[in-house]
Symmetry: C2
Subunit: 497 residues, 2 copies
Amino acid sequence: MSGKKGSCNNKVEAEGSSNGGLLLSCKAWAMSVWEFGRDEPNRVIFSLKVGLAVLLVSLLILIRAPYETFGTNIIWSILTVAIMFEYTVGSTFNKGFNRALGSLLAGVLAIVAAQLALCADRVLEPIIIGISIFIVGTVTSFMKLWPSLVPYEYGFRVILFTYCLIIVSGYRMGNPIRTAMDRLYSIAIGGLVAVLVNVMVCPIWAGELLHRELVKGFDSVADSLEECVKKYVEDDGLDHPEFSKTVMDEFPDEPAYRRCRTTLNSSAKLDSLAQSAKWEPPHGRFKHFFYPWSEYVKVGAVLRYCAYEVMALHGVLHSEIQAPYNLRVMFRAEIEEATGQAAELVRRLGKDIGDMNRTLKASLLKRVHASTERLQVAIDMHSFLLTSSYDRPTSAAKTDGDTDANPSPPSETYHEMMRKTSKRLYSWPSREVDAYEEEAAVGNLLVPRMRALESTAALSLATFTSLLIEFVARLGHLVDAVEELSSMAKFKSEVEL
Amino acid sequence: MSGKKGSCNNKVEAEGSSNGGLLLSCKAWAMSVWEFGRDEPNRVIFSLKVGLAVLLVSLLILIRAPYETFGTNIIWSILTVAIMFEYTVGSTFNKGFNRALGSLLAGVLAIVAAQLALCADRVLEPIIIGISIFIVGTVTSFMKLWPSLVPYEYGFRVILFTYCLIIVSGYRMGNPIRTAMDRLYSIAIGGLVAVLVNVMVCPIWAGELLHRELVKGFDSVADSLEECVKKYVEDDGLDHPEFSKTVMDEFPDEPAYRRCRTTLNSSAKLDSLAQSAKWEPPHGRFKHFFYPWSEYVKVGAVLRYCAYEVMALHGVLHSEIQAPYNLRVMFRAEIEEATGQAAELVRRLGKDIGDMNRTLKASLLKRVHASTERLQVAIDMHSFLLTSSYDRPTSAAKTDGDTDANPSPPSETYHEMMRKTSKRLYSWPSREVDAYEEEAAVGNLLVPRMRALESTAALSLATFTSLLIEFVARLGHLVDAVEELSSMAKFKSEVEL
């Protein structure tokens, strides 16, 4: 199809290139809008629901009967719908609660203040009203900055403007109680319409989103672990783009890594979804009351702890000091096996949460630990390769039967390779400082420095593997956390296959 | 003072304990409110400013003249102030822009639709209005989900409700243009009051907050690096609280670590502050137009990259597999020196940004690199200690003059210590799996596993030091990024002392 579009474009270009370009960019734009909606159909559903809700509430005014009953105050119901309608059911409930409580409090406050002002004489009245407005404005603004009240920020705004509106229009139009009641009614109507449309028409549940978000987190951690390790064992260290550029472009060739970093930054999203989900009644797969939504946040925290290890692995992958390629290849089989097992366990945990199953992970965990141990043994057997040559044996032949799949390179190659990469290694620390370094007595510093770097470069592999091992060690806690969630959320038990 | 309060409380308790408790908790509450305000006086200033703004705008209605000119529509200015007034000048401008453009667009749309509806006959009119409301509701809701339009979410809400209000009340009250214009005027008045109060009375600039936030980030990275390393070299590994508990309690005994994690999660905050700061005119210390606020976000990103290394170091500190205490003590001097230098450089960078100075960091960077090299040399000299005993020399006496401040422990102690910690090491992986492990043939697995763990435990020190070295390597990029910011923001140059 793209080929056809291309040829079509060529023809158009002959006639009028700017016109064709516009048409094409319009097409591209329409395509991306279509993709955006298809990616997540809830977006389209949400938009249509908002349209429906404002339409319904506008009908109250377009049709004569309700308009005559409520008068102009009915326009407040439109405002309420437009402001209250949120993406998920839970956050709509939450915002509705803020709105209702805020309006109620403001109404009560306003009536009290208005009665007080009425008792005073005609000159004092506006002064009392003015002072009360100043006090309400100051106090609500201060309170909404208080950390534990931040989620109710909207409620405080509602209190402020509702209070001002009621008391001021009450003063001008007389009868503040009547004004307050009419406005509360129409806000209630607007709120009711918003809630009904949100719950009745294809509801988008925050709980469901939270559930899916957590499962996605597991997958992205597993993916990025595999991606990172794959790059590490395959990378020959020759075509590294410049680091600072990579930081800014956010590693364009590593999609899984970026998703994993999204997982790391998702704590706020999980929190707010859990906050919204608590407002929702039992629905869909989440059938019982007091469903442990906060447990999802906890599992997310432990998962993030595993993800920090992946970030550290990724840091070693892009570090300035790299282990020689040969050395990495030597432990490739063990590293890949351990990684594969660990990623499988993480995916399995995610899938079990996704399916709301409860299986025993012991045998999987055991297998992960067994392959990690094999990696440890391999590192242990060849640990002399990781350190410098004070007492390095002359022949670096392997003595272990476990890992003879990779023939060990003769030590000549290793040294040759070391010499090759040493130029790159020497470019560390960084350019400007190298310039100053020249002043120093180079002669007696050069040798220990080179060797120190050589050894550190090899130790980089040790770093990578111990981070991997630590990742596996943390998986135990992840299994525990998932187990706790499963029992609290009453996932159905299944016998392990 | 607290003693006096206590004795006072005792007396009260004799009379009526519940009354005293209430009084005390009221006192505590008032104290914490006071502390909260004193911590950041801007909070109090902001609250008073909101009070002032709503008071000013209410005066428009309380005083007879403006009320008679604008009629009831003037209440919209109150709503505008309450909704538009934000913490910083920049975000108020931003929200005001959203509000103004949204209202304007909605007004134009409503007038067009109303004229269209007027052309149709009396029956069709409400139908056209209803359909237009549905379309506007759907389209604005869909657009505000589009990633690049998310910052303008509020603008789309404004379009939606302003459109509905104008067209519906125009339909009911006739003359939509008059309604629209009156409302736009009163919104403009409200917006003007909000902006004037925000800018004229003790303005809180987003740019200033961003500047301070970034400097705070540097300090917290330096602090938490030092804290983490200090704990690592001092920790004897005996009183570790359970890991999963610690994750949940968020490491209560490590305040700097928590601040550093806040730095990691601050990307959204920096982004939104930079977004707001772009709306602000030159002010205070930031005197020229097009101040490079986005450069702050970039420096923040590089700083976060350094902070990831600190997180990884922290991960090793709390890892399940720990290097023996003796080994850590052996390299203590070098580790502490390198850390101290690195932390000083980071602090110095932060201070230079804070003071808007531009100094050469070369000599500091050189010193950091020199001490890091000493650490590398030390590790290199004693790397045989990090690997298992295939070819370990029988006497582990040090051969290096650089580090003889710490007498090296005889190898007996080392092995004894290993045996002591081996119980703890053996508790890894985790309890449940150990239970299953018993089925396996323990005899022939035990020895290699133990040795593997022993070696891995020692390699944990290598991991810690290479992460530290990598942190230092990344500092070069941080220096570069700060240098770039300094030149773009035209910080004043100073000769290095």
